[in-house]
Symmetry: C2
Subunit: 344 residues, 2 copies
């Protein structure tokens, strides 16, 4: 839905066809987004054969991205593909190569770095307002996948049922956004340390992870996330118990406070300043806008031929860092990201 609404908002883009294995689902979307019924498909291959497209937007589960991206490349159609792009680095590389050979663009739909407050933060960092950054922390612990009283399915597992079966869960599915945001803010990650565990009996993968990113720029980035933590009701209601995102430098601190009108708070040696990052948008509007910005960037890059920020070849590093976290947790040691490149 976020995707389709974003396409609707961009001048010159037309949603011409839809595919979904569940026809009724595709038909409902077709009605909502004014797509002719004759252009609704159960089989995406048929869609690729019968339609003349400029690009496809692949918004499916990670394990079927490969076949869909390769099929799009075969048909000479540009690709915007949901994160994570693949289930292994080798697979991601194969997809990138296929698109390069077919001369189609391959861009990853990674919307978080386009969220307004991270753009704001990046501008302030680039302006040197806190000097040289050295520490950043994103932290959120909630009960997203814990059993719900009465036996109902937790909301996340209802909305994206496939997540229950994922062997890699919270970092692969969600933490990857935060890895990408931190790469956007602080550059290349050199080494990764992680600890993971699972509490919920409803999922296969880890529901808690502490990931520490050692950046080449010497920033320490902490991603401390959980969907398997018991929290008081009132914390659950407020943005899922999201803690303020903090970036500390040698001359000041920037903080994003999600509880005070999405304030950005800048503190230096001699003053503290606050302003709202979202310009009177609601949280839902803000989140939708991050997709619209991501898609707009994709269209601009298709038109200009310029590389996208989230070109698959660049996003491969976000993916490698994510996989390095799993390697670290499993091997109980710090993993140099380049080890993963070497091993492939």
């Amino acid at each position: 839905m976020h995707h389709l609404r974003a396409w609707q908002a961009i001048p010159g883009v037309q949603i011409v066809a839809l595919a979904n294995r569940t026809r009724s689902r595709a038909e409902a979307l077709a009605r909502e987004f004014a797509v002719d019924d004759s252009r609704v498909y159960e089989d995406y291959r048929l869609l690729l054969t019968q339609e003349r497209l400029d690009f496809v937007d692949i918004a499916t589960a990670p394990q079927i991205h490969r076949e869909q991206v390769l099929a799009a490349a075969e048909h000479g159609v540009h690709v915007l593909c949901q994160k994570p792009v693949a289930t292994s680095l080798d697979m991601a590389r194969e997809m990138i190569q296929a698109c390069e050979v077919a001369k189609v663009r391959f861009v990853v739909n990674e919307n978080w770095r386009w969220r307004r407050w991270y753009r704001e933060l990046k501008a302030r960092l680039d302006a040197g307002e806190i000097g040289t950054p050295r520490y950043a922390r994103f932290s959120m612990h909630n009960d997203g996948v814990l059993p719900v009283a009465g036996g109902a399915s937790p909301e996340l597992l209802t909305r994206q049922a496939y997540t229950a079966q994922m062997p890699k869960l919270i970092v692969y599915e969600w933490g990857i956004h935060l890895v990408d945001v931190m790469r956007y803010l602080f550059g290349d990650v050199e080494r990764v340390y992680a600890r993971m565990s699972r509490i919920s009996p409803l999922v296969h993968g880890e529901d808690m992870a502490l990931v520490v990113l050692e950046f080449r720029s010497a920033v320490t980035g902490v991603i401390d996330i959980s969907w398997g933590s018991y929290i008081p009701n009132e914390k659950r209601l407020v943005r899922g118990n999201l803690d303020p995102f903090i970036v500390e430098g040698d001359q000041g601190t920037l903080e994003l406070d999600p509880y005070q009108d999405d304030s950005v708070i800048l503190t230096t040696a001699d003053h503290t300043e606050r302003w709202s990052a979202h310009l009177a948008q609601s949280p839902a509007e803000e989140y939708q806008e991050s997709y619209t910005q991501t898609h707009r960037h994709f269209i601009q890059c298709l038109r200009s031929g310029e590389p996208a920020e989230n070109e698959a070849r660049d996003n491969l590093q976000t993916f490698a860092v994510t996989l390095a976290a799993y390697a670290s947790a499993e091997q109980r040691r710090v993993i140099a990201v380049e080890e993963l490149y070497r091993d492939c």
Copy 2:
């Protein structure tokens, strides 16, 4: 002062003599604590020679603990010694051995594990109220050693001037309390990962540290502390920007909230419960009480002959974990605590 007040509060204990290199300081304390002027010393060796003592309480800087502990042992006097006991593991071992040979008790004055809320937490954990613990986080970032506007010395460096010169700072001087608290709650630490940095030009040692403790019990313990972070004024005023201490288990979460009357908050699958941990004490009274409890335990153990919780031989593990954090930050890898024992 905390020490002397604690001794005063324990029946059967009498403060008979005081030594301080600055005589006026010792004299002022002597007046306040009713010690005869003739029993005030500049030289602690003279005190040991001239007085008949049951024990000494060594509350000096770490680098002079060794000579003072060895001198007390020579005189056959039991020792309660301020943490950290030494500047290296070898030195700590030498001191332990000297006390064992001299048949005097050697106990470390580590008061944090006697703070009322950690005792409360331990009781709840032992009662199984959150099942098996798996994650704990202590976090506090403030500007404790950053330059103060107008050029005044920051409060910490005024109160304990020697800290400015310490080559190891926030973990060695303060984080060690949190390591000990976590050992008290979760048992033996197997491995340690840490990142450290320094911002303040007023100190030599690190003023920021992220330390991750991997417990044998599979708990991940996070100690995320800084004295070199710019924070808004209003956060500085509230307990130095201390975050709630969180312990998560497979059946619930315990949280100590320092901003709501020192509440303990217990959340399980079906309910949330709150109560105050400090029984109407002020924060200052609570902190003083932690010393009184530490000292009372020491006296009880002297009388009974039972080992103390904070016997130097046991506290050596807290010290080893602390040094492992420095080794990890320096060598950029996870350090097994036993490596430090092997290397000595």
